[in-house]
């Protein structure tokens, strides 16, 4: 039996491994093993006040705390019957743009690009492609600046609260960001041009794409979930359609669509389901790079992320230009015993929260489903389909392909443990 092992996945967040076992030429099993320990956030939220949920859940992740804050606030506001209104809604959208920009820029330019340009890491790549790394860092900086200006700090922001924000940022503080955002927008559009000339593995899969629906807007926060195969549900019906289950080799739960199986959420899903909601300029830039829906090649997710960076930068510029720091920073709540559901689009995909609170506003039950958990089944299916090509490869080549495939998902294992070491075994 041949075994391909990646003992420790590099350039992903968290601790995991991959094992692929063969019997002869047949793939016997594929396991994405997440050995980062469970973190029990859902358990220790019990008994805490509903007001604490954005601050506690932000700690689940250092790169996408905004997503946790937005999904948790959406769920609590659903429970308490709060409509935060258009001003707070627009500020949340801007806040979320900042997170997409910084998260995608780090992954695209420093973590995933070395795979396509043939370098072991960004440091080796920087010696020969300084302009790529410099552009990536400038874009990331622009995203960080948005999060800091609205959230009070770059990591684990402190300004969001249920109902809105503790305070509205001054208009001048946001307008100061515009030159940096415009510079970053140009850099993202230029990056799409060289990405169009990269060599992408010839691989396509007919995923069921799942994403939030936010009406006429490219989605950040919404109250419906749709898929490429006809799913169209209210967020409150999530548990009826999505099932989590334990696998014996991993500390992360796997999600599946009931009676349908694996699905894909994240940039590729958003791009394919909501392409028409991108601006004409961003759609044209995607077309120049040779990218159009349906895009079924997960390796092209690097380009899709760059498209979303260009979109988020353009969206952020428009939101800042229209921003007036007027009105109350938050809508106060009247506590009632209730259940609330919230969903938003983290950089890596759909992030679902559900809370049950009592009449004192204390959390009695919590459920959090991060995007990496939702994509693990598709990640394994990709590896299963790619594995036959690995048999003839040397172990370093097979490891490289397996890791690149996993990195298509930009997995956040710390969020999901709630990943890589590759093992290939042949009997």
């Amino acid at each position: 039996m041949k075994t391909i092992k990646v003992d420790y996945l590099a350039r992903v967040e968290g601790e995991g491994a991959v094992r692929i076992r063969f019997r002869g030429e047949q793939v016997r099993d594929v396991e994405v093993r997440i050995f980062e320990p469970p973190r029990f956030f859902e358990a220790f939220l019990r008994g805490r006040s509903y007001t604490e949920v954005p601050d506690i859940t932000a700690r689940i992740c250092g790169i996408c705390p905004v997503a946790y804050q937005m999904s948790s606030c959406a769920a609590m506001e659903d429970a308490l019957g709060i409509d935060a209104g258009p001003t707070i809604g627009a500020l949340r959208r801007l806040f979320y743009c900042g997170e997409w920009i910084e998260s995608h820029a780090l992954h695209v330019f420093l973590l995933h690009a070395p795979d396509f340009l043939g370098y072991p890491d960004a440091i080796a790549m920087a010696r020969e492609h300084r302009e790529i790394v410099t552009a990536g860092l400038a874009i990331k900086k622009a995203g960080n600046a948005i999060v800091r200006a609205i959230g009070g700090r770059e990591v684990h922001p402190i300004n969001p609260r249920v109902g809105g924000f503790h305070s509205l940022p001054p208009r001048a503080a946001l307008r100061e960001l515009l030159p940096g955002l415009e510079h970053a927008r140009q850099a993202a559009l230029e990056a799409l041009e060289w990405m169009g000339h990269l060599n992408y593995p010839d691989y396509e899969t007919d995923y069921e794409f799942v994403a939030v629906d936010a009406g006429a807007e490219y989605p950040f926060i919404g109250n419906r979930i749709i898929s490429s195969r006809g799913l169209d549900i209210a967020v409150r019906d999530y548990d009826r359609h999505f099932q989590e289950h334990q696998v014996p080799y991993s500390n992360a739960l796997h999600s599946r669509l009931a009676q349908r199986g694996a699905y894909l959420c994240g940039p590729l899903a958003r791009f394919n389901l909501h392409f028409d909601k991108l601006s004409a300029e961003v759609r044209a830039a995607a077309a120049r790079a040779g990218l159009a829906p349906p895009c079924l090649n997960p390796f092209k997710s690097i380009m899709v992320r760059a498209v979303e960076v260009a979109f988020a930068l353009q969206e952020a510029i428009g939101l800042i230009e229209r921003y007036e720091a007027e009105g109350a920073p938050f809508v106060p709540a009247s506590v009632v015993a209730a259940v609330g559901h919230g969903v938003s689009e983290a950089p890596r995909g759909l992030l679902y929260h559900r809370y049950r609170i009592d009449d004192a506003g204390l959390i009695r039950d919590a459920k959090i489903v991060p995007p990496t958990s939702q994509n693990l089944a598709s990640m394994e299916e990709d590896l299963r389909r790619l594995a036959p090509h690995m048999i003839a490869m040397t172990h370093p080549e097979a490891t490289r392909l397996a890791e690149q495939s996993v990195r298509n998902y930009d997995p956040c294992i710390s969020c999901a443990t709630h990943f890589l070491k590759l093992t290939l075994e042949r009997e």
Binding site: V12, E13, I63, L110, D121, A122, V133, V155, D410, S414
Partner: protein, 151 residues
């Protein structure tokens, strides 16, 4: 240009806050150099390439040995880079130094020193330093000042 000492860490993460504690100690002593508290190593690239020289970084070092030892680490040591290399949650200190050197070879501070205080994983939770790491703060501060003075 002036010398700079940068304390790296998280003050709310137990002994991981020792770099910040060293900077505060130096402030109390009115140290005559630029003092910076930093919790996002990606920002180091700018701070290592804007003309400051020498630059002394003070950070906690996860180690299996006794906590509270103060070590001077060669900033060119490749084996001191994190085993995670780069992750989506940011750069490690040694990664940031190496990236700064790769990106801006003509601008990067010629003299970069790393003063490390050994800590253990279990002591990275909670607020405040453990007694043995707290006791190392004056020694680490003196080591950083000596490097600046020598530079």
């Amino acid at each position: 240009m002036a010398a700079r000492i940068i304390g790296v860490g998280q003050q709310w993460a137990g002994d991981d806050g020792v770099g910040i504690a060293v900077i505060r100690k130096l402030r109390e002593a009115a140290a005559r150099c630029e003092l910076i508290e930093l919790n996002e190593p990606a920002r180091l690239i700018d701070l290592l390439t804007d003309g400051a020289d020498p630059v002394v970084l003070v950070d906690a070092l996860l180690d299996d040995g006794p906590s509270g030892r103060v070590l001077l680490i060669d900033s060119h040591r490749r084996d001191a880079r994190s085993k995670h290399l780069l992750s989506t949650h940011g750069l490690g200190v040694m990664d940031a130094i190496e990236l700064a050197r790769a990106l801006h070879p003509a601008r990067v501070a010629p003299r970069i020193f790393l003063v490390a205080i050994t800590v253990q994983e279990a002591a990275r939770r909670g607020v405040g330093l453990s007694p043995v790491v707290d006791a190392a703060v004056p020694r680490a501060a003196a080591q950083a000042l000596m490097l600046v003075a020598r530079g």
